[in-house]
Structures are given as structure tokens and as C-alpha cells.
């Protein structure tokens, strides 16, 4: 196992930057999830680490070696491809054996490792089948198995669970996590399922438009998103973002909406607003931190409900507030009607404030 260091990594296709100055360090034995919307450069980053496409500029080190100029086969990595990339002419057994054969392992050892991997992935009965004779989920497990038979310095996984049904996905999720814990494997794991990232990863790297937005533990990313993109991308339902304006009333900093209501700020939040580049402020709040009232309460602001979605143990309410949609969760015992007038109370200690111009999170100091 080894650590991986990306330094100022850039990949350009023509005039388009697929990966923009990405720097990050994956520690030895760490499980890092690479998350972001489709097309943000996750696969490209992984391919750069694997050496499948040439780097435009920057540096990649695996262990203590700079691998910029090394062939993929010499980088000591295993990879699970987003589209599986199984060898169609080979049986499952031979697919799993291929990486071991290429490394010239003795036949008995190959046989033992292939059968071990097949047992772990519950595909012993599939070993003689060709990939085309497998279901999508089975193909995905073979792809995973082909990486797991080896003992590389780093595992690269590109959405390895994306095609499994919900039950198998949860099961494989714990398999991979278990595998990571047992082997202390260094894993870079691409996913756009943030639940996967949050549940599996030690740290997550959030990407957007080829840029690394934030790289931290899932808890930190969740609690302290550095900008509006991360805030709205991580968490389900998404964090609500309400564009407001900062003004001064009676010597106090307050946020005002176009609808005319005023939201007083705590001293700490007022300091955050003072750091903004303009008076445009975006208020962010997660669904569980907003209190819903059915009548006017001091400090609560007026909104109108839009949809009500009971999910069983929690009911999600969407409401219009200052032209934005706000997600609120209420206990299922609270009856809320659509298109009803409600009042929302924000928790001063748990709201997020963003600079409306730069979209960056505002800090008190």
C-alpha cells in the first residue's frame, strides 16, 4: 500500500480543461471518494492517476515514486472501470486470472487467488461463463473481482456499484468497506452517489467543472461546505439557498428579502456578513435545522408551502421563500397542506452564509 500525491494536476482537451490544477494527497491506507456531477472530471482524474492518458501538466506520485512517465503496468495499481471493460472473449475465470498471468505468478497461486476472489464476490458458479452471459450486476462484480485478485499499491474504482440493484449495492458497499479495513488498502473511489461517499470514505474530494472544491472528511464537508456548490451538492435533500440582501437597521446588521421581511442576525453571523464583498448574501440552511410554524412567531419569516412529501418517519415540505425553494423536514405527526401560509424559523447557530458574488462561505474571522 502507498500514499498518492497529486500536485497541480491539469488535463486539457484542446482548449477545454477537464481537470484544473487539482492538488490532493491520499494517505497510505486511506479511502478517498471523488464526488461531483456528471462531466466534472472524475474519470479523467482517475485515468491520469492510472497513466491511461497523458498529463498536460502537474505531478503524480504513488508511494515515493513520481509516476508521470511510467506505464500503467508499472504503476502498481488496479482499476475498476465505469463500464466494466471485461475481456469479452475470456471466461470469468480467465478475466480474473489475466492480471495474475501477466505478472507471471505460478499457476497454483493464480488458481487459488481467483477462487478466493470468486468466493468473496459470490460468483464461484459463474467462473466458466463469458461476460455476455452475465447480468449487469454480475458483470460489475467480475470487474470488481479483477481488481481485488491483485495486491496493488492503490485501488482505483470508477463508480463500481452504479449498476447494481439497491440491495446488492448496500451489500457490496459493506463488502468493499470491509475489504478496505482488512487490507488497509489505499482506495480512490469515484461515485456520484453522495451517500456512498459519505458512508464509505475517510475523506471526500468534491469536484466541479474540473476544479477541486473541497477535500475533507464527510462530516466536515457536510457541516462546513466551503462554497454554495458544495453546500447544494452534498446532503439530501439539498441545502436550501435563499438570496437576500444585507442592510443595517437600528445599527444592527440584518438580512432583508425582496418580499419585505427582515431576518435579524446574531453577532457572530453579523461579523460573517461584514466580510462579504457586497451586500448580496445567500442564506443556507439544511432541512433539519429549519423550524416550521403554522402561525406567525417572532423571528420566523413568512413562506408558502409548495409540496408535501411524507416518507414514513419524516415528512419533507418544500416551501417558497423569497423566490427560492426551501426544504424543511417535519415529524409525520405535523399535518401540513400545500399552498398554505407557514412561518420558518432559522437556527442562528446552524445557518450558513455565503457571499452572493463569490459564492464562497463567509467566516466570522
Amino acid at each position: 500500500m502507498a500514499h498518492v500525491v497529486l500536485k497541480d494536476l491539469v488535463k486539457t482537451y484542446g482548449s477545454f480543461n477537464a481537470v484544473n490544477h487539482v492538488s490532493l494527497t491520499v494517505n497510505d491506507g486511506e479511502f478517498v471518494a471523488l464526488v461531483g456531477p456528471s462531466g466534472c472530471g472524475k474519470t479523467t482524474t482517475l485515468n491520469l492517476v492510472a497513466g491511461l492518458i497523458p498529463i498536460t501538466s502537474g505531478e503524480i506520485a504513488i508511494g515515493d515514486r513520481v509516476v508521470n512517465d511510467l506505464d500503467p503496468k508499472d504503476r502498481d495499481i488496479a482499476m475498476v472501470f465505469q463500464n466494466y471493460a471485461l475481456y469479452p472473449q475470456k471466461s470469468v475465470y480467465k478475466n480474473l486470472a489475466f492480471p495474475l498471468q501477466m505478472r507471471k505468478l505460478p499457476r497454483e497461486e493464480i488458481d487459488r487467488k481467483v477462487k478466493d476472489a470468486a468466493r468473496v464476490l459470490d460468483m464461484t458458479h459463474l467462473l466458466e461463463r463469458k461476460p455476455r452471459e452475465l447480468s449487469g450486476g454480475q458483470q460489475q462484480r467480475v470487474a470488481l473481482g479483477r481488481a481485488l485478485v491483485r495486491d496493488p499499491a492503490v485501488f482505483l474504482m470508477d463508480e463500481p456499484l452504479s449498476n447494481l440493484d439497491a440491495k446488492l449495492r448496500v451489500q457490496m458497499r459493506s463488502e468493499i468497506k470491509r475489504f478496505h479495513q482488512d487490507l488497509k488498502a489505499t482506495i480512490i473511489y469515484v461515485t456520484h452517489d453522495q451517500l456512498e461517499a459519505v458512508t464509505m470514505a475517510d475523506r471526500m474530494a468534491v469536484m466541479n467543472g474540473g476544479f477541486l472544491q473541497q477535500y475533507d472528511s464527510p462530516a466536515q464537508v457536510f457541516a462546513h461546505p466551503v462554497n454554495m456548490f458544495v453546500a447544494s451538492f452534498i446532503g439530501s435533500p439539498a441545502m436550501s439557498l435563499v438570496p437576500l440582501e444585507a442592510t443595517t437597521a437600528d445599527g444592527e446588521t440584518v438580512l432583508t428579502s425582496a418580499e419585505g421581511w427582515i431576518l435579524p442576525l446574531s453577532a457572530r453571523n453579523a461579523r460573517k456578513v461584514a466580510a462579504a464583498t457586497s451586500n448580496k448574501i445567500v442564506l443556507g440552511a439544511r432541512h433539519s435545522t429549519i423550524k416550521l410554524h403554522k402561525s406567525a412567531v417572532p423571528g420566523a419569516v413568512p413562506a408558502k408551502t409548495y409540496t408535501v412529501e411524507p416518507t414514513g418517519d419524516i415528512t419533507f415540505v418544500q416551501a417558497f421563500l423569497a423566490g427560492a425553494i426551501v426544504n424543511i423536514s417535519v415529524p409525520p405527526t405535523v399535518a401540513v397542506a400545500p399552498d398554505a401560509a407557514v412561518w420558518l424559523e432559522f437556527d442562528q447557530d446552524r445557518i450558513h452564509l455565503f457571499d452572493g458574488e463569490t459564492e464562497m462561505a463567509l467566516n466570522a474571522d
Partner: protein, 295 residues
């Protein structure tokens, strides 16, 4: 009336339409089959008639006294006709096989490069390759003849092999590039991560998947070389070097009345092509890459 009630009518009507088309297609195919098969059947029938029976008017539709005499004559090396025929046959086989082997050896890496690598002038080169096929072959007859004379290749089989390659390669490359384009690049990438060099990935993973393409290319090159007439006629003048198309033509213009012999020779000429198809067709299996990647 509800929309749901009308629904079943639509597929029924469209199925009837499809059936109409299917029958039209079948009738068309049968006509095409007759059109192509009838002359061949006539060729076979004539080849087993006696010389006299072949000339009769009205024709004998079915030979009254079938005989294999023409075949025996053509395949007998002691007979002067047979000796010539067998030599032509051998010459054709040599030229066509060499053309095919060289075409595959050159086209496979060229097509792979066009499909996988981006290098300066790639587009230009690819169209330059195709440009050759936009002109009728005869246009190049004189220039190529002059070129062959300069190279000292006139009256050698080498001149034909080279010429056939200039015709066959562009199409072979084009055809094979299509095959390589359809093989997901992730397969090679996976192989390279699994420990293969670029070349091993090509050899162990990509090549086996392109076998149908290579076979199609080979058959195409072989048939084109096997049937070619004009260049063989122009470049070769020595009797013992002639290839079958020219040989048969020249030979029988001297014996104009021997129709059964001519037909038997023509039939024998089609044998290698048919055999090639029969032997290789089992490699034309359904897409080999099925199951490789998620769609």
C-alpha cells in the same frame, strides 16, 4: 371512445404493413438469387457436356451424356492444356495469397493506428488513403506500368502483388478501422493496468476481437486479386507467368469451340473462393465484444 381502446389497432395495422414489406423483400431476394445462380448453374451444366452437345440448338437443358472429361483434361499435368491450366492456377493462388497476407500485415497496424492514435496529419492521411479509391482502376494503368518498368518489375508477379495492394489496402484499412473503432478502448486500458504492455494489450486482447474484421479484409483482398484481369493482362506477357483470368481468356481464344472446357475452367476458378468462404464463415460470429462494456 377512449384512447386506450384505440391502441391495439395501431400495432396490428403496422404489423400487416411490415408483413407486406417482408414478402416484397423475399420475392426480391428470390429474383436476385435466380439472377445470380442461373448463369452459374448453366456453367456447371455445360461443363459436364460433350463439346458437341454444348453447341446444339435448341440447347440440351440437361446433358444427355454427362461427362467429366473436361475436368480430367484440365487437372491432368501430362496434358498440355492441363499443364497450362494448373500453372495459371498456381500463379493466381500465389499472387492472391501473397497480396492477402501482405494486405493484412500492413492494414492491421495501420487501421489500429488510425483508430487509436492521434498524430499530426492523421485526418489528411486517412483521406489520402481513401482518395485512391475514388478513381477507376484503369486510370492508373499507364502510370503504374511505367513505375513497374522503372522498378524492373514488369513480367514479375511482384508487380501484380504491389498493384493489388495499392487497390486493396485503402479499403482494407478503412474496413478494419471501423472494427477497431467499435472495440472499446477501456479493454486495452484494463489490460495495460493488469500488466500488459501496449503491444501485449493489442496482441492479447484487441487482435482476437478483430478476427472477424481481419477475415473479412482477407477475403476481400483475396477475391479482388483472384479476379483481377486488366493489370494482369498488361503487366505480364510470358505465358508461364499468367494468372487464371488472363490465362483462361488467352487460352480459349485459341480454342473457341471448347465451351465445356471453358466452363469447367471457370468453375474450377471459383472453387478457392467458395472454399475460402465456407472455411472462414464460422468466424463471422455475432459481435465478439458483446458483454465487454456497459451500454
Amino acid at each position: 371512445m377512449s384512447i386506450a381502446g384505440e391502441r391495439p389497432v395501431i400495432p396490428r395495422r403496422s404489423r400487416r404493413q411490415v408483413d407486406g414489406w417482408r414478402w416484397a423483400g423475399r420475392i426480391f431476394l428470390v429474383l436476385m438469387l435466380l439472377y445470380t445462380a442461373a448463369p452459374m448453374a448453366w456453367m456447371l451444366l455445360t461443363s459436364i457436356k460433350s463439346g458437341f452437345a454444348a453447341m446444339q440448338m435448341p440447347p440440351q437443358w440437361w446433358p444427355e451424356e454427362p461427362t467429366l472429361a473436361s475436368y480430367a483434361k484440365l487437372l491432368d499435368p501430362q496434358n498440355s492444356v492441363g499443364a497450362d491450366f494448373l500453372r495459371f492456377f498456381w500463379n493466381s493462388l500465389f499472387v492472391s495469397t501473397m497480396t492477402t497476407i501482405l494486405a493484412v500485415i500492413v492494414a492491421v497496424p495501420a487501421a489500429y493506428a488510425f483508430s487509436r492514435f492521434s498524430f499530426p496529419g492523421r485526418k489528411f492521411l486517412f483521406f489520402a488513403v481513401l482518395l485512391r479509391n475514388m478513381f477507376p482502376a484503369v486510370i492508373f494503368l499507364v502510370p503504374l506500368f511505367i513505375l513497374m518498368r522503372v522498378l524492373g518489375l514488369v513480367n514479375t508477379h511482384g508487380s501484380l502483388i504491389l498493384t493489388y495492394l495499392t487497390f486493396g489496402l485503402p479499403l482494407a484499412i478503412w474496413l478494419l478501422k471501423g472494427f477497431y473503432d467499435n472495440i472499446p478502448i477501456q479493454l486495452e486500458q484494463a489490460a495495460r493496468i493488469d500488466g500488459a504492455t501496449r503491444f501485449q494489450a493489442f496482441l492479447l486482447i484487441v487482435m482476437p476481437l478483430s478476427v472477424p474484421g481481419i477475415i473479412a479484409t482477407a477475403i476481400y483482398s483475396f477475391i479482388a486479386a483472384w479476379n483481377e484481369y486488366i493489370y494482369a493482362y498488361t503487366f505480364l506477357s510470358k505465358n508461364d507467368q499468367l494468372t487464371l483470368p488472363v490465362g483462361i481468356q488467352r487460352f480459349f481464344s485459341e480454342n473457341t469451340t471448347d465451351f465445356p472446357g471453358l466452363m469447367a475452367a471457370s468453375f474450377l476458378m471459383s472453387v478457392p473462393v467458395v472454399v475460402l468462404f465456407l472455411v472462414l464463415q464460422r468466424y463471422f460470429v455475432r459481435a465478439l465484444t458483446e458483454g465487454a462494456v456497459k451500454h
